[in-house]
Symmetry: none
Subunit: 141 residues, 4 copies
């Protein structure tokens, strides 16, 4: 039997709050998704003005980061033409995201969930996803 | 040009808060989804213990209620064998839900969104969805 | 943070061994799927002669049982015309199975995974799924 | 509550008329799709001789342009290998289009819908989509 640590709904709200605060600060309304360590949705918010296409993309970024235990951005490099993971972006019916904005959430060295942001540039998405994790980690101490 | 009224993120949070309070009261952890009038996700929460299958079903109930401008429960009767909408449950790749728990959110006679609950019995799902709407409507006055 | 119990690969092999022994005994080659508590596949075997369509159906039965924390057979009754869950069978893109053969695996009162069988009659599928659970539970003591 | 502007069916017909006139002029029978600001289809025409594959592609171009509030062509550049949105083309089950021919329709600074063309070269698709918007905008004055 395995014993798994997993984000609860309060953790998810904390991650969203931190990401939303940064999104507000930089003036980009975001779609924000938090999934558990199995990639299943725990919480989601589309800020007013967040993009319609991003409702799906944010969730898939979170799913990819939690499920593959790595940032979606890291897949962007790994999947460049000529690199070993080339073409991985269309895997799982297109759910595997290689664009930045999905980050695993790690506690005590274990992936306990994932956060995915979408609506800004990939750099903005990453910045806000990281802000969500920073806020969550700070609030745990 | 049309002018459309749509739930904003604060409205969505209010709907979720009302549904969650009722779910807590009856002791059934729920998946709760709120979509806009076009069926696109605005906000979602899976209470700790909400069912994995319900993460999708709650969203699809909300989508159906908003998109078709009727309760998912009403489709259950309309789609009984021999009735005119028989078989509609598998439409849209199975997203059209005919099980109770999806309600349109109506303001000034217009559908402005939908709420979908899943994890309890259909009757419990309906009860909590209605509680979300009641709370939202009360908080608007 | 939540702490979740989950079947490991040895548990999954044990479940499959028990189900396979019964399938051999009754002379029906089966597809046998074991998923974790989030419905994700841990192990799968298609006995020689198992049905092609059952490779999918067995997985979806296991997913449904684990994700919804109930037997797929119980959904068969609940979703009869006129019953509250009527029409649920096409939910989640048709993955939600209401045909017998999917059982949740429960340890210390918690759902830790699911097992799904397909290729026989539903009654045979249920019998073999239960045999898998019985074998697994006996081997834990 | 949000208030959203959205193309109506007359607007959609106007967009199609403008695009069709240009397609006729250049001698390329087109598939022409118009969606609302949420990416939902309002009107569609396949000119005699339009490509079968383009019935889907035109819709997905319009969906992408409206939902992401940018031209599909701009995604083509942004998603080149080494650029930040590399790999985005397979998102949303492959619906996110990065090939030219999808344009957002903007009125008073707001995205009110999208138009998508397919069957010609991407340059021809863009030309006809733009002609649709030009005709629509001119007819509004």
């Amino acid at each position: 039997m395995l014993v798994i640590k997993r984000l609860d709904i309060e953790d998810a709200r904390s991650l969203i709050a931190g990401a939303r605060a940064k999104a507000t600060e930089i003036g980009v309304p975001m779609c924000i998704a938090v999934v558990d360590e199995s990639g299943q949705l725990i919480a989601f918010e589309r800020m007013d003005g967040g993009k319609i296409t991003s409702t799906i993309i944010a969730q898939d970024k979170a799913y990819t980061a939690a499920g593959a235990k790595r940032t979606t951005e890291s897949y962007g490099t790994a999947s460049l033409p000529g690199n070993p993971a080339y073409g991985i972006n269309s895997a799982i019916g297109g759910r595997l995201m290689v664009v930045g904005g999905g980050l695993p959430v790690i506690v005590d060295g274990e992936v306990v969930g994932g956060i995915g942001l979408s609506s800004g540039t990939p750099a903005q998405d990453v910045e806000c996803a990281q802000a969500g994790i920073d806020y969550f980690q700070a609030s745990r101490n």
